[in-house]
Point group: D3
């Protein structure tokens, strides 16, 4: 299969998440010719939009529109499609219709990989809910009796979990570091679209630099910027590397 026909699926609770946590991997795979699709479950309208809410008389619809615009621009910049589920945030509540749609997306996209949140996060209830939904959709997508179609071919892809804000508190143990040197400028530009979270631009730049140095240490080949993931499920190899 040519890279150009490969695809990847990203399931993100809020717009910030796919930028801070997976912006590098998204841009990198887009550059390699993958079709990337982000499912952005909410606009982060209540919990990640402090500045918007400081404006007197601001309405929920305005805040959502503003965050949606940012998210769309960030996805464009990274080279990915984006679909919004408008599930709300703080708390994010998924519905059967959202699950159904996410299963359909799995069937349509046949992704080579799924990126989503870490399984635990004591600071945030939306992140584990996004991960739970992504896992459930991936599992049901394998069931022959779900919208039966004998011509359908779907093989559940590997899942890689995003690095959360405070990894140790979330029992996150990275086992994959993606070298994002060649797309770093794009990732950084995507940060700058998220004007409301300016305090995090430098934070996540430092995370990228430190994961880059760790990546170099773990391979002996220098790299500058990294993005850490935790791979679920065993991988099959034909050669150790």
């Amino acid at each position: 299969m040519a890279a150009s026909s490969k695809t990847g699926l990203v399931v993100s609770a809020h717009p910030g998440d796919f930028v801070w946590r997976a912006g590098g991997a998204i841009a990198l795979h887009a550059k390699k010719g993958y079709r990337l699709k982000i499912v952005c479950l909410s606009y982060g309208e209540r919990g990640e939009s402090q500045f918007a809410w400081k404006v007197a008389g601001v309405k929920m619809g305005d805040v959502k529109a503003q965050r949606k615009d940012e998210a769309q621009r960030a996805a464009d910049l990274l080279g990915a499609e984006i679909e919004f589920f408008d599930a709300g945030d703080y708390p994010l509540r998924s519905t059967p219709a959202m699950l159904d749609r996410l299963i359909d997306i799995n069937h349509e996209l046949k992704p080579s990989f799924i990126l989503t949140h870490a399984l635990h996060d004591p600071y945030n209830v939306d992140h584990p809910e996004a991960a739970r939904l992504a896992q459930e959709a991936r599992i049901i997508a394998q069931a022959a009796g779900h919208k039966p179609d004998p011509t359908r071919a779907y093989s559940a892809p590997p899942v890689f979990l995003f690095e959360p804000h405070q990894p140790e508190q979330c029992d996150f143990k990275p086992n994959v570091i993606v070298n994002i040197d060649e797309v770093w400028e794009q990732k950084r530009k995507a940060f700058e679209i998220l004007a409301a979270q300016k305090h995090l631009w430098e934070y996540y730049t430092r995370v990228a630099l430190n994961r880059g140095m760790q990546g170099g240490r773990n391979t002996g080949k220098p790299m500058t910027y990294g993005e850490a993931y935790q791979r679920l499920f065993p991988m099959v190899l034909e050669e150790f590397s």
Copy 2:
């Protein structure tokens, strides 16, 4: 209490589960005179019936009927009663009425043990849901204020978790191996009722042989076929063994 008045309860997400994972223990206790009851939460109609769905024009009702028939025959062969909850699979969704019925079953049966699924399974969301429901029913069954009846005696029994398909990925750590040598032929015959999952017959035969060898190694007394469980809750002993 004579063995003949003892009972055991098995809470299984799909028909295959009680066969692959607990068929030996069910047959063994039935042979000892226990009344065994299987609560089969779904027919596995969507997720474990690939072959059925390959038939053009097959209907959900047909698939369920086919799997129900198989499950009934397997239960008969193993010497157990079976009650179906028809909760659906992929995903299995339990309802308050199901919980209520399972509490009643606990009260009626007063089981000496409960067998159910492992608490985690990243490959399957129905298995942990079955375990959750079984645990919840067992706990509520102890509440004096649930359908109050001062004459009721119910003591929450020990719970033993089934071995999942990929034990290490499910954080399953067996601490009990049941010697099923004397009922192995029955368990194997029950496998053969599950025509749609023929690829698993040899797989679970190998699991039984390897657990048997481990059982022998852990006791010094040879055995051939074993079934592994993880016991929850401490046991009380009057003599080490």
Copy 3:
């Protein structure tokens, strides 16, 4: 901030819990001038009222009233306010309205700490549900877009988990022991209000004595009665102690 303007929030599944598990800390902080508020999610009417249900013809309303009265008297004795959510027990089911009310309480109280249940309890499904609800309310209370109010100041406080009945089975690892010597008599008197659970008075007196001895061993300063907690989230220090 003078201690007299400080507050603490306790989220308890059943009346017994705040007495056995946090009675010392409540009385101690009340004595220091804190305003203490207990949110008691249920009356423990079904699962911790065995004796009440032995009376022929007793009604649910009677049992609830009896337990409410006990809980109110225990809170009074310990120096705390109490608010009942009447969420039911065995099982405790929280609703969106309860979550909303608990968020409001967080905003009104601005607690310096939250005390609630351990995250896991294989013997009881109400305890983890109470902890989950308390955590969710604390997290949402931080969202600027939840009932937006630019004048609101709310900083999510540290959370300390109660010692469960069988700590090791609940993966409870205490990292804080509160010295409750100066309020022990109050805590013990609160035990005695819980007439229906007399078998636990001595049990929890022994727990307090043994935690007290452990506290002394961990500091080198003798103490007699202790209450153990597990602190979630890192603490910030300016001096080790």
Copy 4:
């Protein structure tokens, strides 16, 4: 095999350990006719003999003799043999000769069970060392090439770990509670031989009472005094109980 020909082996770092942690199980099995042998690795002369060292001019030999006498009397009272290895304490350092002797004891005794310390203890380095030595001896005792003797039959017995002083800090999770009601008086009398550790008599009486209540809760059959253990290695069952 008649109970009277069965044996049990206890590997204890210091004299106090076999009394506080296993005195009930020792007395219980002795009463059932088991031959019980305690290997007491040190006299606890440096770390458990604070009172002895307060006497001006006391010599190491005196302290050892005093503790040895206590340990011997406690073993007699509980119905067990005792062998001292004099490995020192704080720190306990085992030698190849001690390992060799402990292997021989395994061969001679052919124990039905081994009791020893928990695997971790951040408060004490002698306890894990005792457990390590006991495990190593048990493993080597199985090697056909160790002092080869084709007539030797030795099957490695199950291992049960003692409850440490602060169980949660030692990652100790009890899965076995031994009902020691019928030998409680003996265990308590053995406490009273350990005059130097009088502060622990009541502590471990409370531990026994609370483990007893937990044992009752886990089985539904009341008991008063319990001793908790963590069983290593799976057990083989022919019937759930």
Copy 5:
């Protein structure tokens, strides 16, 4: 670097280990042109040679010679070099000279990967000691000040842990499955060289078949025989797969 100049290092406690646990990966990489080197720390002369010791009057030297011959033939068959350290078994005791030699081997070989034992094994003390030694040598090999040589280039390779005999008891969680279909016949022939452990031939054939089926399930691409490993240390990727 052409595959033909790549190398791999295997550190095995006993001869059986590299055959049962890594025979497939060794043969597979040998076939790809890797130079493979096995460091076999002992001959398994005491603990894995039960049959040899049943012969009256057999000497340690004879047993060692017999096992050495088997190990050499198995290595030849798999396409690997083998070096024996004669460290003894049950217990395996490494010396500073062995550590030094293993560091030199790291420097000479510059392996692309190291295969060794799981970190824990409550059934066997030699296995974790082999893993400890392999890890220590790999770490020290990176120190510029160990036998300083400014021209030396050594980059610590990834480490993959063997599947132990009872994986769950050893806290082994496989995250890599190697597809060994094309070398299975070689691996099976190597089993048959180990005449003394004939009872394990079928056991490890079943392990290979079940890991093969799991490998297929985790990728969607069928395979028949697998070998499971646990990779330590994060991997660096430029594309998810």
Copy 6:
């Protein structure tokens, strides 16, 4: 006790460790009037001195002297005493004499806290050995029979573990963040003494900034630079904070 009479003990495997991992806490407590003592177990002469070894003909003695000088200057700058044990590095091997000296230091210093390495580090065998030695000395220092002296008062202080280089790989979970804003400049200047490890200056500056932001998030009070620790052993509180 006035702060000026308080003391703290730091047990560091190599010179870099006390600078990168604890430089802030050392300077902060020194500024508060504590007497701080660093026990530096090795000079890091083999494993952390790559640049020194690039000089043709350099001798071990020269490298040690160079690193000792750096370490002394860094300690001076931070306001601490330093004592070198010259235990070697890669591997660090402690001796009975070193243990004895460290016990004496515990007795002399009577520290209010001990800082040392994380308990696990798969990248480094010297770090866990330093932590093991520090723990053992602290434990033995409590034994009345070790160099008996009835006038001695020693109470084992709390232990705080350093943040390792790759925290998640070392199972390090920080529960304490020290605000080091007021001594940051000193810590940074100490970095610059370690000329050979210039690549780490920015790395550990980023660690300090990110731990600072996490500290702010966990308390609601902004801070800029933090140092993370994992506290072992429960703390005793009289008021939650």
